[in-house]
């Protein structure tokens, strides 16, 4: 189980903004093993989002190689990338990115929708199962605007799980959430990770990064640090220790 699921070699990404060349990534080499929970840290402009887009097969590098699940993704065209994303990658975004006016269950079904091998009955069953795993089975017919932020992000996680991806890519998954809800999301990620899911997460919050097993820090398009987390935080425990939200006290304090 220590095989590299993601292998990146000397990845360079340069954007051409008119006459100016912006070097977003200046040669990244990185390997992520099966079952790792990687947190990518860095200030804004450090290239972590660009790197995430490349890992997520949403964009293609200027140069360098990227192997995901043993496939050299650079050889794929736009359509092949789309299909590859649908089968191998689960996405979790900062702003949840659920389809509006579409029920939770149907949002979760979405990745399977574009997979011709999955029939509508199987699609529903698998989506239901994914919703159960994030504890939202009872909200299957709720619309996104009827769900809290944390619930929306859980639906998004269920959507990321439904296609049984080889890696889950999470871009600032807790960026729009309060501390308690962030920990709840981290709890889900940790338990998924314990069951063997590989997770790559971008965050700029140091405390959130401590829930991962490994931290990579970006600066100016380069990796400046790559650490295994020694004292990993446990989200389930932290949740218990969090003071229970008392609205009256909060108001008095502020």
């Amino acid at each position: 189980m220590s095989e590299a699921i993601i292998s990146v070699q000397d990845l360079v990404k340069t954007y051409h903004m008119g006459a100016v060349n912006v070097h977003a990534l200046r040669g990244i080499t990185l390997a992520v093993k099966q079952g790792e929970y990687l947190a990518i840290m860095g200030a804004s402009g450090s290239g972590k989002t660009t790197f995430m887009n490349l890992l997520g097969c949403l964009d293609r590098p200027t140069s360098g190689n990227y192997f995901l699940d043993g496939v050299n993704v650079n050889t794929y065209n736009k359509n092949q990338l789309a299909e590859f994303r649908g089968k191998k990658i689960g996405f979790v975004f900062q702003s949840f990115n659920l389809l509006a006016r579409t029920s939770a269950l149907e949002n979760v079904e979405l990745p399977l929708f574009y997979n011709p091998a999955v029939g509508s009955k199987e699609r529903k069953e698998r989506a239901m199962h994914a919703l159960e795993s994030v504890g939202l089975a009872d909200r299957q017919s709720s619309l996104p605007n009827q769900l809290s932020g944390g619930q929306q992000q859980r639906v998004a996680i269920a959507r990321a799980l439904v296609n049984e991806p080889v890696v889950i890519m999470a871009d600032e998954p807790t960026g729009n959430l309060d501390t308690r809800t962030s920990y709840e999301i981290m709890d889900i990620f940790q338990s998924l990770n314990e069951k063997g899911s590989t997770i790559v997460m971008v965050t700029h919050e140091n405390d959130i990064a401590q829930f991962a097993t490994r931290n990579v820090i970006f600066r100016d398009g380069r990796i400046i640090a790559d650490n295994q987390i020694q004292k990993r935080r446990n989200a389930a425990l932290e949740l218990k220790n969090l003071p229970v939200l008392d609205l009256d006290n909060e108001i008095e304090e502020s």
Binding site: N53, N79, G86, N97, L98, L99, Y114, N163
Partner: protein
Amino acid sequence: MRISNLLKVALRSLNRNKMRTFLTMLGIIIGVASVIAMLAIGQGSKQNVQASVASLGINSIMVFPGSSNQGGVRGGAGTTATLKVDDALAIAERCDLVDHVSPVVQTRAQVIYGAQNWNTTIVGGNNDYFYIRNLNIETGNTFTEADLRAASKVCVLGQTVVTNLFGAGANPIGRTIRINQIPFEVVGTLSPKGQNTFGRDEDDIIIAPFNTVYKRLMNSTYINMILVSAISQNSMDAATAQIGQVLRQTHKLGPGTPDDFTIRNQAELSNIFGSVTKEMTILLAAIASISIVVGGIGIMNIMLVSVTERTREIGIRMAVGAKGSHVMTQFMIEAIFIGILGGILGIVLGVLVSMLVAHFAGWPISITLFSILLSSIFSVVVGVFFGWYPARKAANLDPIDALRYE
């Protein structure tokens, strides 16, 4: 990817914006409906004109005397007296493309019955005249062979004459009227025909046997016209040529001598009116088609708005595995669906409008399969054509930009 999935997604998104979908569709509905209604009204008026031309007679060909030429001053057609009864007989005998022939003499006379009098047209013809002019007998009979041979003083009255001499609804059969002081027995009346296309009252007429008018009323040796019917609509031109040859022979006209007669046939007339109404129909349909195109631009407009509005949705779909072709198909289905449903509703509306016009304006209409096919094909093509660009725009979106779109 299953097309049924995309169909479901497309229909759902249309369903979410019912009002917008309907308004977009309205452009197509009105366009298609107006094409159908215009073509129906155009076809109807064409048939109307054809019917009134046909009422002039069945496949009728009219032979007039030629134009006069006195000292270089030429008169119009019919200004000379060159046609004789023998010409009519010759045509009947020698033209095989002709099935009915009647020599015709025509005059106006004062007609008296009791205290009433009336000035009307007196036509002398044989029984073929009724057939060729498509005149039907309302009451009584046409002339007997004996009447025709013996120049009997009998006549058939048009309804306008009946009304003016006897009063409306009276039965004049067996009564005796006086035409130029000569007593005529009324043997029949004509079914009313009303005005012809040119506004002349077709019922203001008295018909008497040819010999009677020719010998007793006019006392001339020349006739006004020979009325001929061809054996079929298609042989009109050939029959016309044949009559021309026969008349040139009987009139002993050498090569190079111009005809001393003029032949007109109904086909010419119906061709002229046919082309006028056809042009009108094309014009109306062209104007109506413009509204379909405008409707199509409406589709394109809304689809573009929809693509912009749903940029994020497109990004999400692409991120989770939708290919450009999936997105393209989804938007194309929406556009085509608007086109097809708009087309169907437009056909229904167009038929209703045509029927309303027929009912209230009293115009004849005819809804042809052609106009329905034309407009349904047109509406699908418009859907495809104007849906294509927005759909392509959606399909070419970059997933990263689309996901970041606010």
